[in-house]
Symmetry: C2
Subunit: 361 residues, 2 copies
């Protein structure tokens, strides 16, 4: 694999991850682009004790453009996109409309309650294009291409973790217009947050309490072992990876995919574990699309250890979940979920696992 | 106001709240209904240390029926609905497809990880019809009708709090098909949870820490006072109520409406405060609909003190929020929000408050 670092016309970084070592990346971005926006603000909510990002410039972001104007396709003589090359394998670049950025502007002076701290939203947001094929999907990638994507995730996790502002690196994919995806081209994103995220903070606090109660045992390893024994919520098991529906799943279809070996993050995966990820994840995605015979909207969220704290307690896993509860019906986060944080799941986890297992591939 | 308790054909309770004391409620429910479903299960997620409800029977719930078959309209000679009467003011009844219920069935024996506790989803779920007019909206109610709704909320909060299983009573309204509402008739819901909700737990923990650091001061009262001083995020202020956009709002349009006097819940409001709620809330709702000149999807969530613990720390308020960030565009909870709990708000709270204030009513 060959890694080539370049820059776009407005100074944003773009990195090619090419499967052929002979690939040469020459074309420069010829567009006349305005400078990237300043970083967002982050504000500390004293009621839930969490940071919230305010990124007004994102209102202008590209929204469901026609295929011929897709900014994630390779450039053509007639249309310059975010990627100057005429083809690519996997490419990563700084988001043009970032929620977090190292480009810190002049802070605004606002009358705020004393409990509400305000800071620049440092960090970085990147886009990961999985393929140059506009009409593909992650589920249709080859295992070799998934391997290249894993290398890109590992590379970005290592590099973004070195930025002083960054406390956590989050690789994810949103798929499907039903959940708000604004670009159809198969792509993921990476958020390098300037704080540890609320969910990760709660997960690590649970893991700490579990370790204290159980002679240092790891919460996630114990849950993984218990699910392997219980069997009823298993989806796919292989030598290196295990996919199951958690016993207290929040979403109609929610699958957690763990490496069988306890590691904190993607860079810690061995070459054999990285090789084995593509086949198991592709099977899980195809089972998910097979449940109702229609492509499922989903969020795929990599839970990695934060950069500095809690690295021994964390256990890398991919949380894949879909809001589709039936053909033509979605699970919405309404009053109970969005107002009170209480999830009502309409599908029993054991039934969801069985439906996924019974899909004929 | 006259309160009449009746029962539907399957044994569920239905309560009329009539504005005329002379109203007589005779008609009985003549339908041939199956018995109500057993309670859901609640399962304890050891990773986030929260209860999740699993309510598979809700998959069968009524989904966007045609107007002529609306189950929340008054009954007609040709079509029997959930409400046997030919007209009503405000009516409350047990949800036919409840997430929580006192009808406890036989528990299922499942192989679960040792950390995942399972219990019957005790408690109760009710539907609150605000008006018999199918085409109305909360924003089009009269102040008198809103007063009747407040009485119904207060009545239900008191009564449901006496049920042994119930730890918290949550009155809310989901409005708009964009956020998953399955019945168009103007209605709200009440969830009487068998546990303290995660959001309330976190809010009370914050309030406790604030009180410890500030000589017993109340977090919410301090935030309310600070917002009144700051002014820039104010929406409406009256003698008894204050509506503002919080400084760290998570949603494009999010308004918190507090009584100026510190009370734990709706039953604690005085008659004058109850009278004053309708005019201020109706103004807020009309400003919200006025921002883009289209009816806004929203969730209106009453934050009340739990039944038993933390009652001194809680401060009643209504959290009203909309996912609409522009005409034709919604804010979705995607990877950052749903995966990591980090909200990215595309509209600055100060701008949202200004837009709401500038609406010509």
């Amino acid at each position: 694999m060959k890694r080539t670092v370049t820059h776009l016309a407005d100074g944003r970084e773009l990195i090619y991850f090419d499967e052929a070592d002979s690939t040469v990346r020459d074309p420069a971005d010829q567009r006349d682009l305005p400078p990237p926006p300043d970083a967002s603000e982050i504000r500390y909510d004293p009621v839930l004790e969490e940071w919230v990002a305010v990124a007004a410039h994102r209102q202008a972001r590209t929204h469901l453009p026609p295929s011929a104007e897709c900014p994630l396709c390779p450039s053509t003589p007639g249309f310059a996109t975010e990627i100057p090359a005429t083809d690519y394998d996997v490419v990563v670049f700084e988001n043009r409309f970032p929620s977090f950025s190292h480009r810190i502007g002049v802070p605004t002076a606002l009358p705020l309650p004393g409990q509400v701290e305000i800071r620049p939203g440092g960090g970085r947001c990147e886009v990961v294009c999985f393929t140059s094929d506009h009409d593909a999907a992650f589920a249709s990638l080859t295992p070799q291409r998934v391997r290249t994507v894993v290398e890109a995730w590992a590379d970005r996790t290592v590099e973004l973790s070195t930025l002083p502002a960054v406390e956590q690196v989050f690789c994810f994919e949103n798929r499907g217009e039903e959940i708000g995806v604004t670009l159809r081209h198969p792509h993921g994103q990476i958020y390098a947050y300037p704080f540890r995220t609320p969910r990760t903070g709660r997960m690590l606090a649970s893991a700490r309490r579990h370790a204290e109660r159980h002679h240092g045992a790891n919460l996630f390893a114990d849950l993984l072992a218990a699910e392997r024994t219980a069997e009823v919520r298993m989806v796919v098991t292989t030598e290196h990876w295990t996919a199951f529906v958690p016993a207290a799943a929040r979403w109609p279809f929610e699958i957690h995919l763990y490496p069988n070996r306890h590691v904190p993050d993607i860079p810690a995966l061995t070459s054999a574990e990285r090789d084995a990820f593509g086949p198991v994840y592709l099977e899980v995605l195809r089972r998910l699309d097979g449940v109702y015979g229609v492509p499922m909207p989903y969020i795929a969220a990599w839970h990695q250890a934060p950069v500095r704290a809690g690295r021994d307690l964390a256990y890398l896993h991919l949380q894949l979940f879909s809001a589709r509860r039936a053909p033509g019906k979605l699970k919405y986060l309404a009053g109970s979920e969005a107002g009170m944080g209480v999830f009502i799941n309409d599908i029993r986890p054991e039934d969801a696992a069985r439906m996924l297992r019974e899909v004929q591939l």
